[in-house]
């Protein structure tokens, strides 16, 4: 499989011009309805016709790559197909409700949120769910705040959160934002939590252990029950990072493994589109013990209808309103479409695909057995160069150089949506790149809209708007 991305080139200096380089106009705020001292003087912005804009953004879209363009095996990101019908359901006016409307006039919205809380609880094995966090990291932050409130309510002052080194960077940042000291935990030689190290790391200061299972190497933490015991015996709570939940649907549930609090990445597991960086949604689930501390409000059933309820010891709000409603709506539709059989099959096929692909690639792939993802090593090649060359094969490359436990890591998650044929092509792309010389890799990509970009220079001399471009 080879690929050639659209490349609109204006001249030797640039590709598609900026809106501001096409046409701008400046308008004055004089003669408006406000006194001059309350207004700005003037406003200068791009000034284009609708046909010109349509062409501008169509060209930009052609110089972009999504799941519908081709395979997107970006590890830990679960880039699966986003069903079209969910977009139709979320289109206005269905989702267009003002958050301050009286609750008795928004019974449909509340019922959908209630049902989603319920479905997510069943899927995670959790007793109560808050839909409010607007992304996975926001879910982590909310979940850690809930754990903090729980400990404080019990009169416990715990200052540390323990996190395996291989965890997502958000875990560390979320714990720190909540005011915790982070204790980093090394992996054992099998790539899993080292029980002795865990035993040594936890104690009376431990508020929680944040764990991803399967972890970022795609490995199930087989000792999860012992891990839970160690943490719980020390008085800590067990936090489940839901980034890799697509590996487990219908096979295991965080609640059954002893986790007390978890987040769900609905833009991963439940197929809502990632939109080039968001919006996502990061609902959290908790056990009964932690439910009184959830963000407010929860949606509760009441006399045949639905209403907001405030958890007794709520941490308050983590989003100005009720979270990323349109994303939650799409996630509900996806879950309702798949049901038990579909959800379980999604994980089965995601794990099948990852293992089949791993089998077909000639690179070294340490550790195992894998679930939804694996981490191959580019060996003596630079993983970043390796990834750039994969672009020429029409493949969005894996996550590179992380987790660091594998040298020159290529973290690969094909998801359930790829066919055997596509997986064979993916494996061929890996192997073809591995067989090419260093110069070819260093010069890649050649068939994307842009050639290799100098990111180091961009960071050295940041230019973040068309205003600073004009000043250069």
């Amino acid at each position: 499989m080879r690929y050639s991305q659209a490349r609109w080139t204006d001249d030797d200096e640039r590709y598609e011009p900026l809106l501001s380089e096409k046409s701008t106009a400046e308008v004055s705020t004089d003669d408006g309805p406000l006194p001059d001292d309350l207004t700005r003087d003037s406003l200068e912005l791009p000034d284009l016709s609708e046909p010109e804009l349509a062409r501008h953004y169509t060209r930009l879209s052609q110089m972009n790559y999504g799941v519908e363009s081709g395979p997107f095996p970006l590890g830990s990101c679960t880039m699966k197909y986003n069903p079209s019908f969910t977009e139709d359901l979320a289109a206005p006016p269905a989702g267009a409700v003002h958050p301050d409307q009286p609750q008795r006039t928004t019974q449909g919205t509340l019922e959908l949120l209630y049902r989603l809380q319920d479905y997510l609880g069943r899927i995670g094995g959790m007793d109560a769910v808050s839909l409010q966090p607007p992304a996975g990291a926001a879910g982590e932050f909310a979940g850690i705040l809930v754990a903090q409130a729980y400990h404080e309510h019990n009169g416990e002052d715990r200052s540390e959160v323990v996190i395996p080194e291989s965890a997502h960077g958000t875990n560390f940042a979320s714990a720190a934002m909540a005011g915790y000291d982070v204790v980093s935990l090394a992996s054992d030689e099998d790539g899993r939590v080292d029980l002795d190290a865990l035993d040594a790391a936890v104690g009376e200061d431990t508020a929680a252990l944040m764990l991803t299972n399967p972890n970022t190497l795609g490995l199930f933490e087989r000792d999860i029950e012992e891990i839970a015991d160690i943490v719980h015996d020390a008085g800590g709570l067990l936090y489940y990072d839901g980034a890799n939940l697509n590996a487990l649907l219908g096979r295991a549930r965080p609640g059954d493994m002893g986790f007390d609090v978890m987040h769900y990445n609905v833009h991963k597991t439940f197929a809502t589109p990632h939109g080039g960086g968001g919006p996502g949604a990061g609902p959290i689930g908790v056990t009964d013990e932690l439910a009184p501390f959830l963000p407010t409000p929860q949606v509760a059933e009441s006399g045949g209808g639905y209403e907001f309820a405030e958890p007794e010891h709520t941490i308050g709000k983590v989003h100005g309103f009720y979270g990323n409603w349109l994303v939650l709506l799409k996630a509900y539709a996806y879950i309702a479409r798949l049901g038990d059989a579909g959800l379980t099959d999604a994980s089965a096929k995601a794990v099948l695909n990852a293992n089949y692909l791993a089998e077909g690639i000639d690179l070294d792939i340490p550790f195992g057995p894998f679930h939804h993802e694996f981490v191959a090593s580019a060996g003596d090649r630079d993983a970043a160069d390796f990834a750039k060359r994969m672009l020429d094969y029409g493949v969005h490359p894996p996550t590179t150089k992380w987790p660091e436990i594998v040298s020159e890591a290529l973290m690969t998650e094909p998801t359930e949506v790829e066919s055997k044929r596509t997986l064979d092509q993916l494996a061929e792309a890996f192997d073809a790149v591995a067989g090419e010389d260093d110069a070819t890799l260093a010069n890649a990509p050649e068939s994307t809209a842009a050639r290799r970009i100098d990111q180091v220079a961009a960071a050295r001399d940041p230019c973040l708007s068309w205003h600073s471009l004009a000043n250069e």
């Binding site: 999504g66 919205t109 720190a176 549930r253 695909n353 089998e359 969005h396 973040l464």
Partner: protein, 445 residues
């Protein structure tokens, strides 16, 4: 049940035969054998969630949402409705945008990166400040991030944040949650006739204040008149001045840079998305000197090996995936696609259209307040100020009774005090305003 006749996910292409082939290649005899899960924590797959066809799912979801009442919402207070042209939906829905990921491979993601660069540039133009990020989740979390920024900026000292007496409770709670980690407390300063009470602020502020927050327009719809003084007060105490606003208001109101704002936050989805139950887009703009302390993603211009200008995510060493617990924020997934829509809508309006829209927010509120003021039992606006989109009216009847009676008539307004309702109007409710005034006259007597 499934139209495609399979019991399983309709979004995986496997046939029974290819599944078998793949299992053979791996060397196991079943999918179940691939799962390395101890029996003691294994789950049998019974969620009791029925499988539905696409048609059934649509009917199911549509019937649930159909239980919402069809109201004309004259509501605002931080979430606004403006008309979004079809071309925004059309272009933003292109799958290359919608189904893409964060631009970790910039060479294949130039389109989205350029659109985000244009979004950042739009905010730089509107605020006069040098650095806009790609987005935060919403106005409340952007405000929270501003408070944490105040703790990282060396020229600022103190661990108190001051917010106006009139503020959405939810926004204050979110701020409190973000501020608690670094040990910052949130205090209130008073308002006078809807706007910042500058004397009250002067009393409340001290050298232990790290940030002063004000909104323009305020949550009660008034337009601030002494923001320059607020900025000077903050500056005199080495505090950041954080201003909350939105891109429509910015097209007309005083430029944040000229009143001394250090950070501008707010909801930018009022352009591009419209009413969506509080689904928003946190704008975050600050001075260039705080560049390395900014939370969230930044797109910068770069060159490729053909020496052409390109775009890339930049200064990523601030971010969680590299800096981990020392990152400027935990944010990863943000609201990029909502920002794309905002940029598209702003570009569609152009400077004339955006300014016209902003001016209409002033005149519509003014005109409706004047009409409402004619009604017996109602006086408006309560605050002797200029207004933007919305205003507070005083009612002889209890405000909740007026609100509930109006809901019976098909109109939603806010009850914001014992005898105060708040009314928001934009071009999307233009057709309903006359009937609304009649309905209010009926229920307010």
């Amino acid at each position: 049940m499934s139209e495609q006749g399979s019991r399983g996910t309709p979004y995986a292409p496997h046939t029974a035969a290819t599944t078998t082939e793949m299992l053979d290649a791996i060397g196991v005899d079943s999918e179940a054998a691939l799962f390395d899960i101890p029996a003691s924590v294994a789950f049998g797959g019974q969620f009791d969630i029925p499988e539905r066809s696409e048609r059934e799912t649509r009917r199911h979801v549509e019937s649930i949402l159909g239980r919402n009442d069809d109201l004309t919402a004259l509501l605002g207070r931080g979430h606004y409705d403006h008309y979004v042209p079809s071309v925004v939906d059309d272009l933003a829905s292109r799958s290359e945008f919608l189904t893409s990921y964060t631009q970790y491979q910039p060479e294949i993601a130039q389109g989205f990166l350029q659109a985000l660069f244009e979004y950042q540039s739009l905010l730089v133009e509107l605020t006069g400040l040098g650095v806009a990020n790609c987005s935060m989740y919403d106005a409340a979390t952007a405000l929270g991030e501003a408070a944490t920024l105040s703790q990282r900026v060396r020229s600022v000292s103190g661990d108190r944040v001051l917010v106006p007496e009139h503020l959405r409770e939810g926004k204050r709670e979110v701020l409190g949650n973000y501020a608690a980690g670094p040990g910052v407390t949130v205090d209130t300063y008073p308002m006078a006739d809807g706007n910042v009470d500058v004397d009250g602020l002067r009393e409340a502020i001290g050298d232990d204040v790290a940030m002063v927050y004000a909104e323009n327009p305020t949550v009660r719809g008034t337009i601030e008149e002494r923001l320059g003084t607020v900025g000077e007060l903050a500056d005199a105490h080495d505090a950041l001045f954080c201003l909350g606003t939105d891109p429509v208001a910015l097209a007309l109101l005083e430029e944040p840079a000229t009143v001394g704002a250090d950070v501008v936050v707010g909801d930018a989805s009022s352009l591009g998305t419209g009413t969506a139950y509080g689904f928003g887009l946190g704008l975050f703009v600050t001075r260039e000197e705080y560049l390395r302390q900014v939370p969230g993603r930044l797109v910068g211009a770069a060159e490729d090996t053909s020496d052409r200008r390109t775009y890339t995510l930049t200064l990523q060493t601030r971010e969680q995936h590299i800096r981990r617990e020392r990152a400027t924020s935990n944010i990863c997934t943000n609201q990029a696609w909502v920002a794309l829509r905002t940029a598209m809508h702003a570009a569609w309006l152009g400077p004339d259209g955006l300014l016209d829209l902003a001016e209409s927010c002033v005149t519509r509120a003014r005109d409706l307040a004047a009409e409402v003021d004619e009604i017996r039992g109602v006086s408006a606006p309560v605050h002797d100020r200029h207004h933007f989109r919305e205003f507070v009216a005083r009612t002889d009847q209890p405000a909740t009774a007026v609100r509930d009676d109006l809901a019976e008539e098909g109109y939603a307004v806010h009850a914001v005090g014992d005898h105060e309702i708040q009314i928001c109007t934009t071009e999307t409710t233009e057709h309903a305003v006359d009937d609304f005034v009649d309905a209010l006259a009926e229920v307010a007597k």
